[in-house]
Structure formats: structure tokens, C-alpha cells
Symmetry: D2
Subunit: 141 residues, 4 copies
């Protein structure tokens, strides 16, 4: 059963070309959260000497982990209204684990947060987004 | 003179692998701002049917345009402390123009904002970041 | 005509006990913005020696100026979904001018920003909010 | 011992006229957090019919609970650089409990968050701030 939702989330996530580029793997899907990893790649680097990852990559991971934290409840990703990210430490080369969690699920819009960790478990960044969770309009026809 | 600062900004920006991947071109450098374009690529897409760009790409562009808005004053990029992005419209395939502007330049930290526009001039996203602008420590030796 | 909307905004604002406590006066109402002043009071002080105003007062002013920036379009205040405030300088005793402006007006939610200035014109704080601007449900009957 | 830090925090908080106006009572001080209550007053009301509290009051409570969450570590309040608040439910008349917690303590700046609850335990708002936690300059003399 829980494998089922995990496979469903993985399949849905993998459909996006950007998610493929980020090398996203779903580790666990909870009632109000998700855990996934992103696979490091050379193109993430912003500083060629110190080799750390661009904050925009971290922002994308915060956004998507917070968004997909609602997947078990909603069964689909939802539009991001706004996003806030706090940067805590330089993200050195290596895969990144993202843990998303719902803060408040609402009928019209919802708030979810995410924390990002490096290979050594170090907290790299965290943040939260506001998501548009009104039911989608019925299909025309 | 102004060509000089533009070339210097372009060279500094292009050093980052992630900036190369984003296809960044500096259009103008102002005393308190910058204008640049990012070159659309297939990997930006999040929704394979509707084909719009992932919000994480837009977040990266808001972050870097706000950061590089301080380039003429500081001569270098600075660490992002935190970032906020508001999403205004779906970003359809096509290059994106980013305009960054300083809100308040400070000795320890500064605030800068950025607006993103699509090919047709439509406002796609905007936001602001807090940047760590304390002078870098003197080299040891 | 424009006096009319100004009086209407002032009357609507003054209905709120908290707005009365803040001593809000509407200076101008624009198509996509508003300008108002708040009257300093001793209870705003957070630091009894240095005498500057608590950031929560500034947050309230950013929120309400951004919200009422949409008054000419909507004819009513709207619920705040989320709020972001950047603090630029200590707000010393004295009235504060708040200028609100719409960033993007939407059918379901909108983004508006505000800038706060001290007596001497110094920028004290700025920020933006996301507002719930869906039409109110029809009255039951 | 722990009563000692609680009394110290209460005394330090009560020094601020704005904190007195908010009727703040410190309930508990943790290594990386704080819990306090604010005493409802009529002037908080923004909507005279529905009687809920202005979002600016909630923003102030998020800010101060996040700031004072660092009190046990720092022994003093610190300047807020920026603040983000998400509004989850209308805050009806009644005292509000605020729980602040450190997200990341840093040498130059830190991130802390806070959650606000109504009398019935309902989550009203939450948010986070960036704080300037560099050591204060040595006194001149």
C-alpha cells in the first residue's frame, strides 16, 4: 500500500523534465510529508573554486519538497503562489536530501515547509511556500 | 566605461557552471541594478503537457538578478541569506528577462529585488533577497 | 471624485479599533496604490533607552498599506495570506508614512508591496504580502 | 536555575513599552526556544463585526517569539533583519500563546521560527525571521 503511493509519487515526479535533470528519487511518502533525494551534478556549481551549489537549486528543492508533501492528500502537485528560502550553510558537492512537511492544509491555499540536508546530515537550507490548493475546475466537454 | 563594467559582469557571471547552464547574458549594468536574459532550455519544463517552467528556475533568476544588482557597487557576487519569490504567471517556453535592483545597500547586509519578464513582456515572477554584504575578510599570509 | 474615494477609504480604515490606535490618516488613494501616515505613540517603543519602534508596528504598517493599495480596485480590505518585511533602519520616535502599491492584481490572490518612511524621509522598512482577492461569497438569504 | 532564566527573560521583555502593551508573560525558556502568552485587548481588533485580531499583532508576536527563542543562548534580544508570516486562521478575541524556536544559530545572523495558538489550541499563524546575531561592539571608554 505505502509502496504504491511511493511508486505513484515517483512516477508523477519523474514526468517533469526538470525533475529528471535534478535526479529526484522518492524515499518516503507520509500522510503530511515526503522525503526525497536529488542527485548532484556539475552544472549545479556556482563558485568554480569553492564548488558549492547555486541557491537557486536549493530553492527549487525547497519548493518541490514542500509541494509534494501534500501529494498523499491531494494526489497531484499544486501551483506555488510564493516561496521563502533561508540559506544555512554552503552546499558542497554531493546528493541532497529534502524533507517536506505540511504546515497547514487549507481549502483554497496551503502552507508547507521543507528542510534540505547534505550527505553528512548538515542542514543546508530550509523554507516554506504558499500553495494554491483549491480543487481544479471540472474538465470541459 | 559602461561597456567595461558590462564585460566585467558578464565574465564574472559566466564563470559559474550553473550560470552557463542558464545561458545568462548581461544586457545592462546600472549603479544600483542589472538587466540580464536567460536562455530557455527544455530541461526547465516542469509540466510536460502545458510546458511551463519550474518555479525553481524562476527563483534562481530572482536570486541572481537581485544579487548582481549590487555588482557595480561591490564588484563581486555576495552570499544570499534568504530569498522570497512571488509567482505571478506561468512561464511559457522562451527566454526570460530579469531586472534586478537594490532596495537598500548596507554595510553588513543588504536588500535587493528582481522582476522577471517573458518574451512578450509579461510579468512572470518577482521577489527579493537579503544578502550578506560585509567586507570579505583580508587574505591570510 | 478623488476626494470621494479618499474619504471612503478613511472611513473604512477608521472603523477598525487597531487602525484608530495606529492613528492612520489617508493622504492619497491611487488606482493601484495608497499613501497614509501613522501617528507615533509611546507604546510603540521597544527599546526604552534608544527609543526605536518595535518591528511588529512596522510589519502592521507594511501589511495594511499593501492591503489598502487595492482599495480603489476592490472597494474593501482583503485577507492577508502571508507577509514579508525587510527592516532597513531603526524607526525613531515620529510619525511614519506608508506607501502601498499593487505588484500584481489577480482573480484569486494578489501581490502588493509597501515602503515605510520616517519624518526625515528615511526608508525604514519595506515588504510585500500575498492577499486573498477572490470575490466574496454572495450573502445568504 | 531555570526559574532564574525565566525571571530574567520576563524582566528583560517587560522593559519594552510595546511588550507591556501586548501583556506578555513568559511561560517557559528552553535552550533553543521560548513560550509566552500575550493578553488580548480590544485595540487588537481589525474587523469590528467579526472581531478578529489584526495581522500586524500576529506579526509582532511571531517576530518577538522567534527573537526571544535565542535569549538563553544570547542573553539579549537581537535586531530583526527580515520577517515572514503565514496566516492560518482568524484570531478571535482571547489570549494568544507564542512558541519560538531556533532554526539555525549563526555567528553573524540566525534564523528562528514561531507558531501562534489561540485559546482552544488552534494554529493561528506561523513564520520565521532572520536575526542579526553578530556580537555587539565593545563599549567605548
Amino acid at each position: 500500500m505505502s509502496d504504491d503511493i511511493l511508486e505513484k509519487a515517483q512516477a508523477s515526479i519523474t514526468r517533469a523534465p526538470y525533475h529528471q535533470w535534478l535526479g529526484l528519487k522518492v524515499i518516503a511518502v507520509h500522510d503530511d510529508g515526503i522525503e526525497l533525494t536529488a542527485t548532484w551534478r556539475e552544472e549545479w556549481v556556482v563558485n568554480p573554486e569553492r564548488r558549492y551549489t547555486h541557491g537557486g537549486i536549493l530553492a527549487a528543492l525547497v519548493d518541490l519538497a514542500a509541494d509534494w508533501a501534500m501529494f498523499k492528500k491531494l494526489g497531484r502537485p499544486v501551483p506555488t503562489i510564493d516561496l521563502r528560502v533561508d540559506y544555512h550553510a554552503a552546499a558542497m558537492p554531493g546528493d541532497i536530501t529534502a524533507k517536506g512537511k505540511v504546515v497547514r492544509q487549507g481549502g483554497q491555499f496551503s502552507c508547507a515547509e521543507a528542510y534540505l540536508y547534505g550527505k553528512d546530515g548538515k542542514l543546508l537550507a530550509s523554507g516554506r511556500g504558499t500553495y494554491f490548493t483549491a480543487p481544479p475546475p471540472p474538465p470541459k466537454g
